[in-house]
C-alpha cells in the first residue's frame, strides 16, 4: 500500500524519480547514473533536512503539476522556474510548507533544463543496486506518469507561518547564476590532448552549441573539431564522466553519468567535477565555451561547491532543530 504524498497530475515531458546514483557498480558494466545536476539535487535535499542522496524528483525541460495528499515540506531547485502553490508564486531554493490538498505547479523553465523537487522524509521508490536513479537500459525507467501516487514517509506535520501561511525561513544558499546565453565549462587534459595538433587553442577559441541528441548518456556539441594526427586505433577502455570525446564525425560528445562505460574514441579533454552540474543543465541550443584549467584549480572549484552545500546543510540543521522540524539522518546502508 502506497502512503500518501503526491499525486502526479501532469509529469510534463520527462519526470523521473532520481537520486545521486550508484557507486561500486561500474565494474559490472552498469553506469553510476543519478541526477544530471548533482549540486541542485544535493542542495534541494539539504534544504528539507534530508541526506543529500535521498530520493527526489528530476524534471527535464519541465512542466509538472502535482497535488499534495498530506502536509509536505518541499524544496524546488535547479533551473530557474515559476513555482506556484495553489496559484501563489513561491520561491525556489528554500524550504516550503505545503498543506494537504495543495496544488504544486512548475512551469516557465529557463536558464537550464532540469528542476529538482525534494521532500522532507523518504520518497518511496523501488531500488536497483541500492539507488532510485533510473537506468532505462537495464529496465529501470522510474518515469512518473499521470495519476501516479508518489508515497512519502515523513514525520512533518502542519507547520506554517502564522501570518502568510507560507514559510518560514531562508537558509543561505549559493544559487548558481546561469543567466546569459553562453556558459563556460572548465576542462583538464585528456589522454589524446597531445595527439591532436592545435586542439587546445581550438577548444578555447570556439563556442559549441548543444545538439538536441543530448541526455544523461552524453551531450553532443556542434562546433569546430579536429581529429588525431595519426589513425592509430585506440583499444576500447573505461571512460570517465565528463570525458570530451571526438567521434569519427565532426562533433564533440561530453559523456554523462549514464554513459556507455567503454569506448575507443579520442578523449581530448575531461570536464572538471565542478563543471558537471552546469553540463547537467545544458539543453539543446545552449552555447558552451571551454576553458582549460589545472587539476589543482579543478579540485579547488569543486571544493568550493561542496563547502556551499555544507554551509546550507549546517544552517538548515540549526533552523530545523530550533523549531523541532524533523530531519532525516543518513541511512545506515547509505553510500559514503
Amino acid at each position: 500500500v502506497t502512503r500518501p504524498g503526491l499525486v502526479i497530475i501532469d509529469p510534463g515531458w520527462l519526470s523521473t524519480l532520481q537520486d545521486l546514483g550508484r557507486s561500486g557498480v561500474e565494474h559490472l558494466g552498469i553506469p553510476a547514473g543519478g541526477a544530471a545536476d548533482q549540486y541542485s539535487a544535493s542542495v534541494g535535499n539539504v534544504l528539507v533536512g534530508n541526506p543529500r542522496q535521498a530520493t527526489c524528483l528530476e524534471l527535464t525541460a519541465p512542466t509538472l503539476s502535482a497535488r499534495a495528499t498530506r502536509d509536505l515540506l518541499i524544496s524546488v531547485t535547479g533551473a530557474t522556474a515559476r513555482v506556484r502553490v495553489n496559484g501563489h508564486v513561491v520561491p525556489m531554493w528554500t524550504p516550503l510548507c505545503v498543506t494537504a490538498g495543495s496544488l504544486i505547479a512548475i512551469s516557465e523553465v529557463r536558464d537550464g533544463i532540469r528542476v529538482y523537487v525534494c521532500i522532507n522524509g523518504e520518497i518511496e521508490s523501488d531500488r536497483f543496486l541500492g539507488s532510485a536513479a533510473p537506468d532505462a537500459r537495464m529496465g529501470f525507467p522510474q518515469r512518473l506518469i499521470p495519476g501516479q501516487v508518489v508515497g512519502v514517509d515523513t514525520d512533518f506535520r502542519d507547520f506554517t507561518h502564522p501570518f502568510s501561511g507560507i514559510p518560514l525561513f531562508r537558509p543561505p544558499v549559493d544559487i548558481p547564476d546561469r543567466r546569459g546565453s553562453t556558459w563556460t565549462i572548465t576542462v583538464t587534459d585528456g589522454p589524446e590532448t597531445e595527439a591532436v595538433t592545435g586542439i587546445r587553442d581550438l577548444l578555447e577559441s570556439a563556442t559549441y552549441l548543444v545538439d538536441a541528441r543530448s541526455d544523461h548518456v552524453g551531450i553532443r556539441l556542434e562546433g569546430a573539431v579536429a581529429h588525431p594526427d595519426s589513425a592509430d586505433e585506440i583499444v576500447s577502455h573505461g571512460v570517465p564522466i565528463g570525458a570530451v570525446e571526438i567521434p569519427h564525425s565532426d562533433e564533440l560528445i561530453v559523456l554523462g553519468r549514464a554513459r556507455s562505460l567503454t569506448a575507443g574514441y579520442p578523449i581530448v579533454a575531461i570536464a572538471t567535477s565542478a563543471s558537471l552540474a552546469t553540463l547537467g543543465q545544458a539543453g539543446p541550443g545552449r552555447r558552451l565555451a571551454i576553458r582549460w584549467t589545472s587539476i589543482e584549480e579543478a579540485v579547488a572549484a569543486y571544493r568550493a561547491q561542496q563547502i556551499a552545500i555544507d554551509a546550507a546543510e549546517a544552517a538548515t540543521t540549526r533552523l530545523f532543530d530550533a523549531v523541532a522540524l524533523p530531519r532525516r539522518r543518513h541511512r545506515v546502508n547509505a553510500e559514503e
Binding site: 557507486s23 561500486g24 557498480v25 561500474e26 565494474h27 559490472l28 558494466g29 552498469i30 553510476a32 536497483f128 543496486l129 537506468d135 537500459r137 537495464m138 529496465g139 529501470f140 583538464t188 587534459d189 585528456g190 589522454p191 583499444v235 576500447s236 577502455h237 573505461g238 571512460v239 570517465p240 564522466i241 565528463g242 570525458a243 556507455s260 562505460l261 567503454t262 575531461i270 570536464a271 572538471t272 567535477s273 587539476i295 579543478a298 579540485v299 569543486y302 571544493r303 561542496q306
Partner: protein, 246 residues
C-alpha cells in the same frame, strides 16, 4: 649470444595516468596481447578486492583499468602508490585466480534470430551449419563486462577476424549473440550495436531485482547450445545461472 632474462625480453609495465580530477587510468603495456589482457584482469580483481577508501568505481577495459576516485579529501599520491603496488602484484601473477564457473547458453541461430549468420559464414567461406558448429564447439572466456553487463568473450578462432556492420543497428534485441573481430558477446539489454548477430538466446542474463544482478564475471566460461525455435518459450525469461547450479 646470451639470452636476456624473461622479464627483460618481454617487459610488462602498467602505466598510471591522470584522467581528469577524479580518476586514474592504469594501462598495461606488453608485447603480446594475451599478457596485456591477463595482467588487466588480475589488476581489476586486485583493485576490487582491496576496497580502497575513496575509490568509487572501476571500469575494466580489455587492456586497462579506469579507477575513479573521490575528487576531494583523497591523497592522490598515496592512491597512486597503492595502485603501483597492486600493479606489481598483477604483473607478477596475471590472469584470474578464483574458481571460475561455466554457463551454457541455449541459442537459436540464424533466421530472424541471427540475421547475420549466413553473411558472416559466407565471408569466412563456410556454410552456416559449419559456422554454428565451430561457434558451439568453442569455449568462450569472459574478458570484461561491457555496457549493460554484456559478457565480452574471447576463444573464437575462425581463421580471420569478423568485420563489424557497415552501419550499426539502432536497436538490437535483448539476448542477441554477436561476434566481431575475434570476440563474442551477448547483449543482455536492447540497444544499439555494430556487432554481427549470429543468434539469440531466450534467457535473461540479469535480474535487476536480485543480488547479484548477474552471476558471471571475468574468467568464467560460456558455451552455446543450439536451440530449435520451437523450444524458445521453455527458456524465455529464465535467468542464466552457472551450470554448477542447474
Amino acid at each position: 649470444m646470451t639470452e636476456l632474462p624473461v622479464a627483460q625480453r618481454n617487459p610488462v609495465r602498467v602505466e598510471r595516468s591522470v584522467y581528469g580530477d577524479a580518476a586514474i587510468m592504469l594501462t598495461v603495456h606488453a608485447a603480446d596481447r594475451a599478457t596485456r589482457q591477463a595482467t588487466a584482469q588480475a589488476l581489476r580483481a586486485a583493485v576490487l578486492e582491496e576496497h580502497i577508501s575513496g575509490v568509487r568505481d572501476v571500469v575494466a577495459g580489455l587492456e586497462s583499468l579506469l579507477v575513479q576516485h573521490a575528487c576531494l579529501d583523497i591523497d592522490r599520491a598515496a592512491l597512486d602508490r597503492r595502485l603501483a603496488t597492486l600493479a606489481d602484484r598483477a604483473i607478477a601473477n596475471p590472469g584470474v585466480h578464483r574458481t571460475t564457473r561455466t554457463f551454457v547458453v541455449p541459442t537459436v541461430f540464424g533466421g530472424g534470430h541471427g540475421p547475420d549468420l549466413a553473411e558472416v559464414a559466407n565471408e569466412l567461406r563456410m556454410t552456416p551449419d559449419d559456422l554454428v558448429a565451430a561457434f558451439t564447439a568453442t569455449v568462450h572466456t569472459v574478458d570484461i563486462l561491457g555496457s549493460g553487463t554484456a559478457p565480452m568473450m574471447h576463444g573464437l578462432d575462425l581463421g580471420a577476424p569478423i568485420t563489424r556492420c557497415a552501419t550499426p543497428r539502432q536497436q538490437v534485441p535483448a539476448g542477441a549473440v554477436m561476434v566481431a573481430g575475434r570476440n563474442s558477446i551477448i547483449g543482455p539489454a536492447p540497444g544499439p550495436s555494430g556487432w554481427r548477430i549470429l543468434g539469440q538466446t531466450p534467457l535473461a542474463l540479469f535480474d535487476i531485482h536480485r543480488d547479484p544482478v548477474v552471476h558471471y564475471a571475468p574468467g568464467d566460461t560460456f558455451r552455446f547450445a543450439p536451440l530449435v525455435v520451437g523450444r524458445w518459450a521453455e527458456f524465455q525469461r529464465c535467468l542464466l545461472v552457472p551450470e554448477e547450479q542447474l
